[in-house]
């Protein structure tokens, strides 16, 4: 029976969007943990399965539904032989809410809720489309529960950070409700995390693009400055900067902080330099820009005061922030996806996030120009939008207590170049026609 199921899963898992080992042969699938959450028809089991691929071994999580007959509406989630991916079955997912509300233990699975959180267990779920590595269930209009698919032992940084910031009353996070955990390799490991669903919010990226498109509409009227155009985004960029500074302050208060001494800063500059030199070999288009980047790294190496490091967002860009009716709310405190947990939780300069957001403004202003017939014509408008909103973001960040002058300016410049160098590598591999976006970062005269 188990063997048969493992066989079915081996044939099925390779086609799942969230499967991380796509393109490599699957040598074997084994069930590591199997907990029955509901018996009968339909039944629900929680599985942790092991997937072996060319010596590598990954764990994945699965909600396994069982039904005598699969109704048409669940056909697309059918695994075979009456087994299906129960994340898509709202008749069963309510069990997760109930278990979290009760704080129940099911075998090794521990369902928990945030202290004082009331969970409405009647909400029905819908799987949010188009997710890369996890599966998110939206319950009614109330909650979004992220089911981590590939499991890495340890507490998920997002759970850790969001619950800590919630305890401090931060307005810039989505309220946490509950989570599911298990011990894996002796470590407390997060399986799922449920937060408030922001019903009437949009992400910063789509808001920024609406503004950029509006400005492009004025391409034939260069006499109208970006500040006078209807879709101006700078007030929002300013608010976002302020929210970012406040979250950084909250993170510094909620978690340990440390400093990096000048010798370590020098080593950091060396690492960045090495990466740049390697990238120039890989991407010849970068040649000619190296001087300005090296100069920035030289100045970084000259910093003779310690710099403060703390917990940060780690993967900060316009797609990670949502504008609600009241505030900017920051999502996905998970760090760079795909990196080991220790690295994702490592202390870093908050300017890493600032640099990420500045790069994101650049992307927002320019990515519509790529493959655009009038791209060259619109370029000055893009530069104008980017400069205006970057400045507004930094002004907001500073007004709310963030630091971006003196040594901090040097560090920020170096981090932004480092990010752009990384992007050069990424674009040259994946979207060569977008290469001009990161390259333009080196010719900016601000």
């Amino acid at each position: 029976m188990t063997k048969a199921l493992e066989g079915l899963l081996a044939g099925w898992i390779g086609h799942q969007r969230w499967f991380a080992g796509k393109g490599r042969a699957i040598d074997g699938v084994g069930i590591e943990s199997d907990v029955e959450l509901r018996s009968g028809d339909p039944g629900l089991r929680h599985l942790i399965i092991r997937v072996e691929q060319a010596g590598a071994r990954d764990r994945y999580q699965l909600l396994l539904g069982t039904r005598g007959e699969i109704p048409p509406r669940l056909e697309y989630a059918h695994i075979g032989d009456g087994f299906y991916d129960a994340a898509h079955d709202p008749d069963l997912t309510g069990l997760l809410l109930e278990a979290m509300a009760r704080g129940a233990d099911h075998g090794p699975l521990r369902f928990r809720h945030v202290e004082g959180a009331e969970i409405d267990t009647t909400q029905r779920s819908l799987v949010l489309g188009a997710e890369q590595s996890n599966t998110s269930l939206v319950f009614g209009e109330s909650y979004i529960c992220k089911l981590f698919r590939r499991l890495i032992p340890g507490v998920n940084p997002e759970l850790e950070i969001v619950t800590a910031l919630a305890r401090r009353g931060s307005p810039h996070i989505a309220k946490p409700y509950g989570w599911i955990e298990i011990d894996l390799d002796g470590e407390d490991t997060t399986l799922a995390f449920m937060q408030q669903f922001l019903t009437t919010a949009n992400d910063g990226w789509s808001l920024a693009l609406a503004s950029v498109r509006d400005l492009y509409g004025y391409a034939s009227q260069p006499e109208i400055p970006a500040s006078d155009v209807g879709g101006d985004f700078s007030a929002e960029a300013h608010r976002l900067g302020a929210a970012t500074a406040r979250v950084h302050r909250e993170l510094a208060a909620a978690f340990p902080t440390d400093t990096i001494d000048p010798p370590e800063i020098k080593r950091m500059a060396e690492r960045l330099r090495a990466r740049l030199d390697q990238m120039i070999l890989d991407v010849p288009a970068l040649r000619g820009h190296d001087e300005v980047v090296h100069a920035a790294y030289d100045r970084l190496a000259e910093i003779d005061h310690p710099i403060t490091v703390q917990r940060v967002h780690g993967d900060y860009h316009l797609g990670q922030v949502m504008r609600t009716h009241a505030e900017w709310v920051i999502l996905d405190f998970e760090g760079e996806p795909g990196q080991p947990l220790s690295e994702r939780r490592a202390l870093d300069s908050p300017l890493r996030d600032v640099a990420g957001m500045l790069r994101s403004f650049d992307y927002a202003s320019r990515h519509l120009l790529m493959d655009h017939p009038e791209g060259a014509h619109l370029e000055p408008r893009a530069a104008e939008w980017s400069a205006r909103n970057r400045a507004a973001f930094l002004a907001g960040y500073t007004e709310a207590g963030g630091h971006v002058t003196g040594d901090d300016a040097v560090l920020l410049r170096a981090l932004e170049y480092a990010k752009a160098v990384y992007e050069v590598g990424y674009e040259s591999r994946n979207r060569p026609s977008w290469l001009p976006i990161p390259l333009s970062a080196f010719t900016r005269n601000t």
């Binding site: 009437t200 949009n202 503004s211 498109r213 009716h325």
Partner: protein
């Protein structure tokens, strides 16, 4: 009086109170008597002229006329400086004309409310004259007098362009008098019980003549108290409650509409106690919404509207907001932040002459650069956002303004009825008109007038009439809950209005570019959206996000038919 629980007849009289909540569904129309129609050829509109045009307003779908002050006045502030509360301004006619107006309106199923200024009078009012000449007499204490101009320093000056203080010295009485508006408009002293009684007497006078209610001008300022900003004081609310109780007792079915240019959180206090369903004013204007509609469309972002509606508190059950796009005053910018105000100025008032006090004096069409799509979008928002819509005369045909006229006269020019002399407003010599008609090539009366637009079914006038008709077919627009929907596109404002099984879905594209939007409509799974203008059914709502595409500045209104019972096993 007969009982209030009778069935609703098609016509009504005041002896049969029949619809205590009529104002929650009504479409209001603001009329400037002076500017609407001139019956006697003296160049100034009058009540008889208005009576002649009631058929037009009935045809348009108007439920209630709101008249600007029609009382005797030296007219130094557009009639808001009343010198006799119980007389009609002779330019407009007499009390007989007024009674006939109310009668004729009622015959057509329309109601009539009028502006009433309770806070102050003209300095020509006999009360003030008596007060300044005889401090010991019966009117000596009718106004707020002081030996110094030092009191109530925390009260802001409202007309900053013309007034430097809220106190003015009166050489006759040898004291300063208090005025929140112009110096020729002394504030009445509501601490004096005789003033409170006198104002109730004024209200009863007009209610006895059949008027359906009042728009109470400048209500936040009735009382003063040291150490406060002298706005929204508890004493003011207590007096308004008294006024309401008096109206309720003797004149059911009437409405009090508060003009309180304040934040919604402060304005809700003018509705009174929520436990009673509201025991102060039935209605109040929602001021901050209007500039934000303009801002949202200019920014192509729903947030300015979403934010202000999210910040708007719930109002008591029997109350209603009054909402508007434009009125006889400037586009008020007091209720936006400084940053937003700068933005509004730069966007909508590039010529400094367009600014007045803290605001912009333009009509709707010129504010929107005469763009029909935008005018339609704005009108659709006005008719679908929570509240009762108040149209401003002339905006239904897209009238223009004249920024070269002084103060706020630019938006108060004669109504344009025909392409004939004086726009059909008056048959006097053109030079005698109270204000010149608009004559520019785009908005002039030869291009924009009622007659031409009535003949052309594709006109803005016909379109507006049709939209009003649709709104009136669905009481949910006036009575329903408002819920904003999760929209994937920040340029698209989507919301439902709900009243039991009656549900309307409104989707508005605030961008000038076509936009797609995915809406989370799971709550209505199984329902079929039916477009309100043409009755075309759209694909039924399923579990997945509902995809719509909208043209630039486009909008849809859908009714959501009840969920069909045939879904799923």
């Amino acid at each position: 009086m007969s009982s209030a629980s009778q069935p609703v007849p098609n016509t009504f009289t005041h002896e049969k109170p029949r619809d205590p909540h009529w104002y929650k569904r009504a479409v209001f129309y603001e009329v400037l008597i002076r500017g609407f129609a001139d019956s006697n050829g003296d160049g100034t509109g009058d009540i008889r002229g208005l009576i002649d045009r009631l058929d037009y307003l009935q045809w348009l779908g108007v439920d209630c006329l709101w008249l600007l002050p029609l009382y005797e006045s030296p007219l130094r502030d557009g009639g808001y400086d009343i010198s006799d509360y119980t007389k009609i301004l002779p330019d407009f006619g007499d009390l007989g004309d007024f009674i006939r107006l109310v009668d004729e309106a009622h015959k057509r199923g329309m109601r009539v409310i009028a502006d009433l200024v309770m806070n102050h009078t003209s300095d020509q009012h006999p009360w003030f004259q008596a007060s300044r000449h005889d401090p010991e007499g019966p009117y000596g204490d009718f106004y707020v007098w002081s030996d110094t101009d030092e009191k109530y320093k925390d009260a802001r000056i409202i007309f900053v362009d013309t007034e430097s203080s809220n106190w003015t010295y009166d050489p006759v009485r040898g004291q300063y008098y208090w005025h929140r508006f112009f110096h020729h408009q002394p504030d009445l002293n509501y601490e004096n019980p005789a003033v409170q009684e006198a104002m109730l007497e004024v209200l009863r006078f007009w209610l006895d003549l059949g008027i359906d209610g009042f728009r109470l001008d400048a209500v936040p300022y009735l009382f003063e108290k040291e150490g406060t900003n002298c706005e929204n004081l508890p004493e003011t609310h207590a007096y308004l409650k008294r006024v309401r109780a008096e109206v309720e007792r003797l004149y059911p079915d009437r409405v009090l509409l508060a003009e309180a240019n304040q934040w919604p959180a402060d304005v809700v206090d003018y509705f009174g106690d929520p436990v009673t369903g509201g025991d102060e004013c039935h209605m109040a204007f929602h001021f901050p919404l209007m500039p934000r509609i303009f801002m949202a469309v200019r920014r192509e972002s729903r947030y300015p509207i979403s934010e202000i509606l999210a910040q708007t508190p719930k109002i008591p059950e029997n109350c209603q907001w009054g909402i508007f796009l434009r009125n006889h005053d400037e586009l008020t910018l007091e209720m936006v932040t400084d940053e937003e105000r700068d933005y509004m100025y730069s966007e909508y008032a590039k010529d400094p002459r367009m600014r007045a006090n803290v605001g912009i004096r333009r009509r709707l069409a010129p504010l929107l650069e005469n763009d029909r799509n935008q005018i339609e979008l704005f009108t659709a928002l006005l008719l679908s956002l929570p509240g009762s819509p108040v149209l401003y005369y002339g905006d239904e045909i897209g009238m223009g303004d004249n920024i070269w006229l002084g103060d706020r006269d630019g938006v108060r020019t004669p109504m344009q009825w025909t392409p004939d002399r004086n726009a059909g407003f008056s048959d006097c010599d053109p030079g005698r008109l109270y204000l010149p008609v608009i004559m520019d090539p785009i908005y002039g009366y030869q291009a924009i007038n009622v007659e031409a637009q009535q003949k052309n079914t594709g006109s803005l006038l016909h379109w507006t009439r049709r939209m009003i008709e649709i709104r009136k077919r669905h009481p949910v627009f006036g009575l329903g809950e408002f819920t904003e929907l999760n929209s994937s596109n920040p340029s698209v404002l989507a919301f439902v209005r709900e009243l039991g099984a009656d549900r309307v879905l409104c989707v508005n594209n605030l961008s000038r570019f076509p936009q797609p939007v995915e809406l989370d409509l799971r709550r209505f799974e199984g329902a079929t959206p039916v477009e309100c203008m043409g009755g075309v059914p759209f694909p039924p709502i399923g579990e997945l996000p509902y995809l719509l595409t909208l043209p630039g500045h486009g909008f849809y209104w859908f009714t959501l038919s009840p969920t069909s019972a045939t879904e799923e096993s």
